[in-house]
Every structure is written in structure tokens, then in C-alpha cells.
Amino acid sequence: MQNLLSLLSNALCRITGRTAGAQTVSELLIGLSEYVSLTSPSAPDLAQTQRLPPKPPPVVALRASAALLASTSLAAAAARVVASRSSTDLTPQVTLDIKKCDLHCLEEGPPVKATLTREQGLQYYRTMQTVRRMELKADQLYKQKIIRGFCHLYDGQEACAAGVEAAITPSDHVITAYRAHAYTYTRGVAVKEILCELTGRRGGVSKGKGGSMHMYAPRFYGGNGIVGAQVPLGAGIALACQYQGNNQLCVTLYGDGAANQGQLFEAFNMAALWKLPCVFICENNQYSMGMSTERASASTDYYKRGDYIPGLRVDGMDVLCVREAVKFAADFCRAGKGPIVMELQTYRYHGHSMSDPGVSYRSREEVQEVRSKNDPIALLKEQMLSNNMASVEELKELDVTIRKEVEEAARFATADPEPPLDDMCNHIFKNDPPLEVRGTNPWSRLRSVS
């Protein structure tokens, strides 16, 4: 960090003709901002914007280094200061450098450059911010005891869900484990229906009968409570795709904890043997409940766990990295080359579930570190702002809109009535004549319709 600081401050000194270099990051920033405002062609615009509401503090762009997520050093590819721009100045498209993936049994990997259009950027931003606000709202509702039971939150990992959805088509399939709210959303279920399911009301996507871990949608198979069980299921969905010859694939997600489940290796073997179009994705958020990866796994190279299956290790905090990697994997599968195993290096801010404070096995400083230096939404925001693809005001407005939407959904979810008792026994069997179901005693004869 210190070397980098001196490197940049020396460069700045050479450019500006100063003799004393910056000793701290903040000094460097001040120096840089002065330089930019001096040389910017839009200096008059800046003067005009003084009359607008106060600008937010300068957003500094610091790109994550190639090291593991847990590392604290940051390599600044470029540090730029944000300035307000008028909309005529906005860049419609930009090509960005993204981190190279680690490869296993692959000659070539995903591209190291990603194209981002303004529309895409706004869409990814919207998706991630909606997921973030929805999860935080769920946290709040849980603490108010309006949500009960299990609640596993996804905040911190948004880039994974957004990136996956950006890389596949709506006709592809997705299956994941219990940390599923984000995928339920990206697969097309409204926030309202998700929150309503969490509060256990009739407007929930599973009519209140499933809860947090059991939400489904067309081409989205949940939402699975038993760790690892979703992986053979995903391979099976891929089998169905291959069988039906529809050129679709299945994205099968699991965590670093589930990576130690035997059934994964059984699924890997068969997927490779039969060349199933399955993208196995390990969302490595560093902890399986309270166990850090080194305490649970003899090998923490989760992308290599497929052994004979090609693997990729990807920066899961950068939505573009995720998108490019999943696109690469999708093309690979659709070409009939068989499955791929992918590891997304990511992080969860919350504990394992709402009953886990999340600080007995990791420090608050660690969580803060990731939040301040590697937050996926902040990363995308910086990319867009520093490339002049959106204005600060625009993104702020979007934040406000999203907040309102989530607020409204929460209000609905809290006010919606509970499911009716006569729905309790329904949906035991499909396409069956109505069934008599025994209640709690022999005189209680309940009814089940398909």
C-alpha cells in the first residue's frame, strides 16, 4: 500500500511540478482533485453546479488487486474524482478491464475485458440495489418478529446473482440453496411476493406454505433447505435439458460448506460422464455457518474440486467478472463440452442466518473492511461514475425509487392476511382427485385438492 502511495504521489509530483509528495491517501486525493479541476475542460460546468444541492464527497475508485478477497491491499488502477455532468455528456458504452480468472483444466478463460452499456449498468445497479434493500428490509422485519423461522440473507453477494442472470437467458434454469431471496428476485418474482412469503401471508410466492427457503418460479427450482441436495438436482435439470435438446442449461449454485458434501462429487462424476449442460457455481463466501474455509476443507481451491471438470475462479464482487465468466461457461456447456465448475469469491455481511450474529468466528473489522473496500454495488457505481455513464443524482434518484418500492412491498407484506386454513392440506399431489387428509385426531377429516 505504501509503495503504491509513493508511486502515485511521485507521478503526481512529476506532473504538477511539486516537490513534496503526498504522505497519506487523503493528501493524494486532494492533490489529484486539484489537478483534475485545473485541467478539466468542464471547469465552468463545475462552477455552475455549485448552486445545486451539496455534492457528495468525492468517490474514489480503487480497484481490487489480484490477491484473494481477504487481502487488505488495494491496487489503484486509476483514482478518479467524481464530478457532476449534464446528461448530454454521458457515455453510452465502455470497455473495461476485468480481473483475470484462475483456470483449471482450461487453455483459455473468459475475456479480460468487458463491455458495459449504460442500460446494462443501470440494470445491474438496479438489480443489486433492490436485492440489497430487500435483504436489509427482511433483516428489519425479522427483528420486529414479523418474519420468523429461518432467514439467510444475501447482502454482500449481490454481484453473483446479478452477474449470473445477466449471462444466461430466461429460458435457462437456476437452482440454489437456502440463501435464495436474490435469485428468486432475479428469476422474476416481485419483491412484494418474496417479502410476503417471508412474512407467511397468502400473497407470498409459495402462498405462505414454503417460507424463506422454499420459493420457486418457472425455471427456478428454489430455495433448498438441505445443504448440497440441490446439486444433484441441478445436474438432473441439466439432464432434462440435454434430453429435450433445447439448448438450455442449468446453473447450479452451492456454498463453500456444501462443497464438502459427497453428493456433489457423485453429481460431478455423472455430469462429466454424460456431458450434462450444467454450470456448477460455488459461491464461496468464506464461511460455512461458523466454519472458515480452512477449518472445513482440506482443499480450499473450490474451483478445482471438480477434478477432471474444468474450473474457473472468479472475483464474485465484480458483476462484470461474474457475467463474463458465466457467459464463458454457458457457451462451453451449450457447445456440448460438458459441465464447468466455477468458484465465485464473495462475502456475506450478515451472519449465516438471523440467529447468528456473525461475529463469533470473524471480526467486525473484517466485515467493515470488505464493506468499505469491496462492496459490489459501490464497485459498479464507481465504474459507472468514473466512466461518466451516469450521474450521481441519477443513481441517487434510483436509490430513492428502489427504497420506496421495497418499503411499499414491506407494507403490503405486513398487511396481507395469513393463508386460509382450508388451503392447509392442498398441494399434496398433482392431478389427483381430492384427497381426505387426517387432521390431528380421527374426527378431524380435512380436504386436499391438487
Binding site: G290, M291, R295
Partner: protein, 374 residues
């Protein structure tokens, strides 16, 4: 959630009664009465939660026999997913308290293997729902081996963890496995209700040379019960295979296990006001089931109602009814036996649906009255 005062007094009275009857009948060496003059001076009857009672049992048995060890997910550094093993890792270290990866089939097999080679493992399932992943090791490797080897190879292991419904954990996390495991010869299946059950039965299970499935209940972990100073002693054990009459009665026999014993006692308290005296039997052990105690009671009351949280088909209640029919008590029944069970559906999530999917006190009262033809 304290037991009401009447129960506490009755508990002590019942305990004294049952102690007396045990002495008289000379059945089982119940060590409740062995007062050890030089062990730590135990306080007088204290309020102990089920969680702490289990923790005490684990601690005492780990101390007593160094072949005993605990393995499972989050049992060590996390202090246990439900804090049942709190403090044990700090006290006994990595060798005796082992955190495993999320690999049920694997670590269950490992535990069974260790038992075969002379250790006495306690294998924890975070909930028994996850034991389904490992059930082959429990049944085929643990339960059947002593038989298959004609007595050569014993498997002294305890499988423990929370069983049955909790609150709002939905279908995949709410199943009761009492019937599943109790179906298999070679296994002992134990289901404690209160703190005394929990501590005494867990100690017995650990000392037993056979595979024991120990079904706890998450909703009971935080419930305090009075424990006599005898029950707090380091040698206190409750025999496996013996039911306990928690409440004497004359009109109807209620048989239950785990959390629903409490529901039965509550129903009995309500009905007592109407002059109906219920006899409440706490099974304590599902397999081997103490059918004699049930028969003795039915022959006295002439009516039988079983209460359980699990599903009705092929369940604990179904087995009790069949056994009663096959034995001497059948001729004493004045009405068919009634089973009160969970509703025959996967557990729904929404509170109103979940509440109506398990036996409530009003269901028990209703069933008793119907059985008594009132």
C-alpha cells in the same frame, strides 16, 4: 415458561411415589437413591433448562470416560448450533470435541467406525432432518452390526440432536423421526421430555453399549424444570426402556413423548376442573417401548389416547394401539384407542397453518372427551 406450581409439587410427589414403587418392585437398579456422601454438595432443587441438563450430562460423561467424544457441525468453537455443547470445547479441546464439515454421511460413518474400534462417540446431527443423509450408516452400519456379527462387534454410539417441529422452519426442517428409527431392531430410541429425562437418559445412552438415537426437541431447550438434588448428582441416570407416570388418573390414559407430554399435562389440568382425571404417561423411550406400563394404566382407566407430534401413518401411536390390541389390556378398553398426531401434510411455513398442523391442547381435550363419549 415455568411449569405451574401444582406441577412442581406434583413432580416431587410423583418422583417420591415412583421411587417407592421401584424400590418395592425391585425393578432396575435406579441410581437416584444412591446418595454419595462425598460428591460435590449439590444445591437444593434448582430450575435447570433442558439445554443445561443436556450440557451437564455431556460434561459429566466426557469427564467420566475418556473414550467418550462429541463430533458434529459447529459443536466445538461455535458452542453448538443450539448451544447444547457450550463450554465443552474450551474445557476438553480439539481431541474430544470435533467440528466437522457439512458431510453427514461421511462423519456419521466415521463416528460409527470409531465406535467399532473401541471409542464411545456422540454423533450430533444439527437436526434429525439431516440424519436422513446419513441414515444408511445409522441403520446398516450401526444398528445391525452386533446381530450380523453374532455378538462379536458392538457399536456403542449415541446419535443425538433436535427432532420434530420447531417454529417456522418449514417442511424440510420439521419432520419427526421417532417412527422411522424405532422401526429398526438393533437401535434404541429415546425421546426425553423434561430436564431430568434429558440428563438421566443421555447419561444412560452414553453408557449403553448399543447404538442409541437420542431425539431432543428444539422448543424444549430453553424450558426450565425443577431438578431435585438427586437428579443433579453425577451418577444420576434414568433407565432406558422404562416409561414414567407423570400424573396419576382414573378416567383415561394419555401416552406421549417429548414436548407433547407437557401438552398432555396441561390438558389434564383443564379437564381436572371438569372432574375428568387423566393419567399421563411419559414414554421416555420409544424403543424398546414400555408396553407394560401402558397396559397397567389402560387396565385401570379403560381408555387410551396417544399424543405425538409426528405424522399418523405408521407412527408411535399406531404402534401403541397395535400392541395394546395384541395384549391383555385390549379386553379392558371401553372404547377404541384414539391417536392425536400431527396433520398428515408436510409442515407449512405460515404461522396459522403451522399452529394447526400439530396437536394443540384443545385437540387433546377434544379427543379425550370423544373417547370418553362425552
Amino acid at each position: 415458561m415455568l411449569a405451574p406450581p401444582s406441577h412442581r409439587r406434583k413432580d416431587r410427589f410423583k418422583m417420591a411415589l415412583s421411587m417407592k414403587s421401584v424400590l418395592r418392585s425391585g425393578r432396575n437398579a435406579v441410581s437416584i437413591l444412591r446418595r454419595r456422601a462425598f460428591h460435590r454438595s449439590a444445591p437444593a432443587a434448582a430450575q435447570v433448562t433442558v439445554r443445561d441438563a443436556l450440557n451437564q450430562a455431556l460434561d459429566e460423561e466426557l469427564e467420566r470416560d475418556e473414550r467418550v467424544f462429541l463430533l458434529g457441525e459447529e459443536v466445538a468453537q461455535y458452542d453448538g448450533a443450539y448451544k447444547v455443547s457450550r463450554g465443552l470445547w474450551k474445557k476438553y479441546g480439539d481431541k474430544r470435541i470435533i467440528d466437522t464439515p457439512i458431510s453427514e454421511m461421511g462423519f456419521t460413518g466415521i463416528a460409527v467406525g470409531a465406535a467399532m474400534a473401541g471409542l464411545r462417540p456422540i454423533c450430533e446431527f444439527m437436526t434429525f432432518n439431516f440424519s436422513m443423509q446419513a441414515i444408511d450408516q445409522v441403520i446398516n452400519s450401526a444398528a445391525k452390526t452386533y446381530y450380523m456379527s453374532a455378538g462379536l462387534q458392538a457399536v456403542p454410539i449415541v446419535f443425538r440432536g433436535p427432532n420434530g417441529a420447531s417454529a417456522g422452519v418449514a417442511a424440510q426442517h420439521s419432520q419427526c423421526f421417532a417412527a422411522w428409527y424405532a422401526h429398526c431392531p438393533g437401535l434404541k430410541v429415546v425421546s426425553p421430555w423434561n430436564s431430568e429425562d434429558a440428563k438421566g437418559l443421555l447419561k444412560s445412552a452414553i453408557r449403553d453399549d448399543n447404538p442409541v438415537v437420542f431425539l431432543e426437541n428444539e422448543l424444549m431447550y430453553g424450558v426450565p424444570f425443577e431438578m431435585s438434588d438427586e437428579a443433579q448428582s453425577k451418577d444420576f441416570t434414568v433407565p432406558i426402556g422404562k416409561a414414567k407416570v407423570e400424573r396419576q388418573g382414573t378416567h383415561v390414559t394419555l401416552v406421549s413423548h417429548s414436548r407433547y407430554v407437557g401438552h398432555c399435562l396441561d390438558a389434564a389440568a383443564v379437564l381436572a376442573k371438569e372432574g375428568i382425571e387423566c393419567e399421563v404417561i411419559n414414554l421416555r423411550t420409544i424403543r424398546p417401548m414400555d408396553v407394560e406400563s401402558i397396559e397397567a394404566s389402560v387396565m385401570k382407566t379403560n381408555h387410551l389416547v396417544t399424543v405425538e407430534g409426528g405424522w399418523p401413518q405408521f407412527g408411535v401411536g399406531a404402534e401403541i394401539c397395535a400392541r395394546i390390541m395384541e395384549g391383555p389390556a385390549f379386553n379392558y378398553l371401553d372404547a377404541p384407542a384414539t391417536r392425536v398426531t400431527g396433520v398428515d401434510i408436510p409442515m407449512p411455513y405460515a404461522k396459522i397453518l403451522e399452529d394447526n398442523s400439530v396437536p394443540q391442547i384443545k385437540d387433546i381435550i377434544f379427543s379425550i372427551k370423544k373417547t370418553l363419549n362425552m
